[in-house]
Each structure stands twice: as C-alpha cells, then as structure tokens.
C-alpha cells in the first residue's frame, strides 16, 4: 500500500458522495474548458483561413441586412479591387436540426475563383455552373451523410420559403470539394440563380460581398472607398477583413467574454461551497481515524497532507476529466463555429493547462481548512470523542 492508495481508499468511504462531488467538479471544468475556449476564440487575432487580401462588405447597421446585387458593379470600380462575389445565409435543415451545416447560394465560378484554397474538379465545377439546381459540398459532408454524386438533397428552409410557399428545396449533388486550410470550407454551396428565382422574397439581394484586393496593405483604404460609395444610399455598407466579419457575426450573441467570466465565477463559487462542505463533513466523520493515524506515528503535517491530498486529488481528477471532455467536444464545436468565422475552435494547451491549474488550486483552497484542522487535532481529545 502506498500513500496515494491510502488517500484513494479514503475517498471511497462514501462512493456515492465522492462520485457526485467528482461529477460536480467535472461539469464545472467542462464548462471552464468550453467557455474559455469560446471567449478566446472570440477575442483572438486573425484566424487561420482568413485571408488578408479578402474583405467582406456587409450592411452598415446589421450584418443580416440584405444588400442589392447592383452594388457589385460599383464595388468593382474601386481602385485596388480585383474581384467580387457574394454569399447569403440560407439556414435550413437537412432531415433534422441536429444535422447542422452552413448552406450558401453562390455564383459557382466566381466563388471558387475567390477561394483558391478550395479545390474542386474542373469537370464538377462545370457541372455546378451548368446545373441550376446543382450543389457541391465538402467531401467530409458527403462521407458524413453517405451522399453520392447524383443524389437529390432535400433541405427544409426556415428563412427562405419558395414562391409557392413550399419550404422543401431539393438540390442535385453534382460535385465535391476539398481544402487543406482550416477554417474555410465545410459549406453546402448551391446555385445563386436558382435561389434568386425561386425564393419568395428579396429577389436581387445578397447577404454580403467578398472582395479580393490587389494589395493587402491597402485594405483599410479600399474598405473606406467601398463604404463611401454607398454612404448616402438606402443600403450603406461596412467593410472589414474576413476575420472581423466572422467575429462580428458571432458577436451578435453578446459579449461572450463577459458572459463566460460571469458563468464561470458563479459555477466555481458553487463548486467551492459544495466541495468545501463535503470535505469538511468527511473530516468530521473521520476525526477518530485521523487520531489513530497520529497515534501510530503519522506526524501532524503528514496527516494534513493526506486530507489536503484527498481534496486536491478529487478536484484535479474532476478537472482533468472535465477539461478532457471539453477537448473532445472541441471538434464538434469547431464545425459549428466555422459557420461564423474562419479559425479552428479547439481547446488550446494553455486553456487545458489553466484548467488543470485551477483544479489543483481549487483542491488546495477547498482542502486547506480541513487539512489545518487535521493538523491541529489533539490525539487524546479526538480519541476521547471517538
């Protein structure tokens, strides 16, 4: 038997209580891992996949405001602009709401021209261009749902019903694409012309513009020039980098950093009280046993370390499991996050290390008072009470 075995055995005195405590710590650190990752993702610098020579033009007051397609020709006249294409948020569900993936109507050739990082077979791109109901998808999406080229893919619209009121859009899968770059791709692309003709409202509008510029260093200047074009129109714009766009899209939810801090503070305060109470109760129950250890020759400090070790062990274990689970959730969250902004949404080592560090600290804070009490325990008094 080792010292660790002794600490571990003591934790199994009341297995249900121990596992419930462990579960509460685990959940707290699962939240910690997810919320810290989310907060960092929101405040991070330019993400992988965001290109410095691409700008995004959205409505000035809200990025959900639609923009007239007539703006494209005006944007092309701005000095430094090389190409323009557009995208629109379609929403919609495939079979079930849980099967989420972003869906954009696009101009096929212009879109793939704008994103050379996306690799598509030229034959399939031709087919996409020719087929008005055509759609291309990332290879991963085909594998995920077992789709084959030639399949008809039904998407139930939530934002965009068709003119006849039907919400069931059906697309012909004509190709797939791949990319080596994290943070872009993952999108179900279909033909804008079909979308524009069939939709019930908003013809001739797009969600936002993507603009490629000749010189990335001139991005602020070009952006101002684009916005100046539409400043006095019915559809004023706001131009920024791809990265800013993505984060602005996501930030519609609110100040995530502040929310994360608030939630975590409440959670950890609760866990601190809960675990602290559990450890104090465990100590009270074991006073005679601790006295016996001291009787056998275990020193005051050693007994205190055992008590502290229990709380550190349970908090660290809960922390590692919670942070580990948050890391496992990362890839799932990543596919969701990329619809808002490029950049991998995954837990960094620094968040994981901080999580484990906070868990150890929590264990020390929770165990400090019981350990101190155990250290001060008088053998004769404790044996008399026992």
């Amino acid at each position: 038997m080792s010292n660790l075995r002794l600490v571990w055995a003591n934790l199994h005195r009341h297995p249900v209580r121990t596992y419930l405590t462990l579960l509460s710590v685990l959940v707290a650190f699962l939240l910690f891992g997810l919320l810290r990752t989310l907060a960092i993702w929101f405040t991070a610098g330019p993400a992988e996949g965001a290109s410095a020579d691409r700008l995004v033009v959205t409505g000035k007051y809200a990025i959900i405001d639609l923009l007239p397609i007539s703006q494209m020709n005006a944007i092309l006249t701005v000095d430094g602009v090389e190409a323009v294409t557009h995208q629109t948020w379609f929403g919609g569900n495939y079979q079930d709401r849980s099967n989420f993936f972003p869906k954009f109507p696009v101009e096929p050739r212009a879109y793939f021209g704008m994103y050379p990082e996306l690799v598509i077979d030229p034959v399939e791109l031709d087919a996409f261009q020719r087929t008005r109901t055509g759609a291309v998808v990332p290879v991963e999406l085909m594998q995920r749902f077992g789709w084959q080229i030639g399949d008809k893919i039904p998407i139930e619209a939530d934002i965009w019903p068709m003119k006849d009121g039907n919400r069931n859009w059906v697309f012909d899968l004509v190709g797939s694409y791949t990319t080596e770059v994290e943070g872009i791709g993952g999108i179900f692309l279909f033909h804008y012309d079909f979308f524009d003709e069939a939709r019930d409202y908003g013809p001739g509008t797009v969600g936002w513009w993507t603009v490629r510029i000749a010189d990335a260093d001139r991005a602020p200047e070009v952006g101002k020039a684009i916005d100046a074009l539409f400043e006095n129109s019915q559809n004023p714009t706001k131009t920024g980098t791809e990265d800013e766009f993505g984060r602005a899209f996501a930030a519609q939810i609110g100040d995530i950093g502040l929310m994360a801090t608030g939630i975590l503070s409440a959670v950890f305060f609760t866990v601190l009280l809960l675990t602290g109470n559990t450890m104090a109760q465990a100590l009270r129950e074991r006073i005679p046993e601790l006295a016996v250890l001291k009787t056998l020759g275990f020193g005051n400090n050693r007994v205190a370390w055992y008590v502290l070790g229990e709380s550190v062990l349970i908090c660290t274990l809960g922390g590692i499991l919670g942070v580990g689970m948050a890391a496992l959730v990362g890839p799932v969250a990543n596919s969701f996050a990329q619809q808002f902004a490029p950049g991998a949404f995954g837990m960094s080592w620094s968040v994981a290390a901080a999580g484990v560090g906070v868990a150890v600290l929590l264990g020390v804070v929770v165990g400090a008072v019981p350990a101190w009490s155990a250290r001060r325990l008088s053998i004769a008094d404790a044996l008399r009470r026992g």
Binding site: M1, S2, N3, R5, L6, A9, N10, H12, R13, P288, E289, V292, L293, K294, T295, L296, G297, F298, G299, N300, N301, I379, A380, L383, G386
Partner: protein, 227 residues
Amino acid sequence: MAIIELTDVHKTFMKAREAVEVLMGIDLGVEAGDFVALMGPSGSGKTTLLNIIGGLDGATAGEVVVADANLDALSSRELARWRARTIGFVFQFYNLLPVLNAQRNVELPLLLTKLSGKQRRRNAQTALSIVGLDDRAGHKPGELSGGQQQRVAIARAIVADPPILVCDEPTGDLDRENAEEILDLLRILNRDHGKTVIMVTHDPKAADHAKRILHLDKGKLVQEVAA
C-alpha cells in the same frame, strides 16, 4: 532495567475554566519484558496515564522517560517518530480503518519506514500469521468479528516490532471466549517475543494474565499486586 520510568507525574485538565487534577504525583517503573495491568474505577486516570506513557498526551508536571526518551523534551514531530518506533497501540474499539482490508490496516505503520512495498506486504503477512489471521488478509473490518478485528489491531501494533505494547481495555468489547484469546495472544507476545505490555482493564480476569497489577484511584497509585 526500567523501560518505563515515571517520576512525580501530574496531569491537570481545564474543565469549564476549572482545573481538574487527574493524576497526582505518579511514580512508576516498569521493567523491560514486564506485563502490567492497570486497574481502577472509571475516572481514576488509567487512560490518561496510558496516554502519557504512550506519548499521546503530555504530563503537566513530572518526568516521563520511556525507552530511554524523555518525552517532555521531544517536539511533536520527534514524538510521532518515537511512537512509530517504540509503541504499539491496542484500543478497546479496535480503531481499524474501515476502508482498508486487514492486510493494509496492518501495513499502515510500515508506511513510516523505508521498507519497500514488497517487504511491507511480507511483514504485514507475518504479523497477521502471528495473530492467526493470515487467511483473512483481504477482509475489511466490517467483514470480521470483534475478536478478529482486535487481532488485526494487535497485528498492526506489532508489525513495526515496537518494544512496548500499550493496550486500553483490549477485551472491553469482546465476549469471554474472544477476550481469552486476545489475552493469550498478549501473553505470548510478552513471553515469547519479549514485548513489554501495559494494559488498562476493568476486568479482574483479564488482569490475572498480567505479571503485575497496579490499582489507580483518584489519580494516585494505591496498590500494587504481583500476579
């Protein structure tokens, strides 16, 4: 040669701001290899005296020398180390750790030594076989009878081979048959293994197993009987 030497030992407790003198000038010498029974009515100070001899509590005044160590001069850390080397404790209610099996309970004192894990396990097995419980090594205290638990406690007390066994009512929670077994075991440890045994008991039949019987009353040694 006296292994336990107490000179004019006093012990006072504060109870509701009032000093209560529990031991009043105890003088006691116990030779190595002796088996002493300490008897007396409740509240006479038996357990307090035992705690002082075992280094669990300090005397208010007087000198306590046990196994060549002046206990008053030792720090709490030194006292803990001294207890681990010198004293084996046996309690009325066994005081085994319920989460550990018999083998691990016996192994506990050896965590304070530099023995390897394998050697610790082997020594614990040996101690359990001395008390006749090597076949119950994997059982937790809750799965053992009172007599068996006390034998495990005795194995724990002797596993580090201390020269002195301090026993506080070791048969107080046992029926006559089990009590006899425990007392026989203590006698064997005293006779064959040379352990000095100090035993507090209320039971005259238990005291009969000792070589000397001391009577304590109102904090004073009042009578000594050679058994």
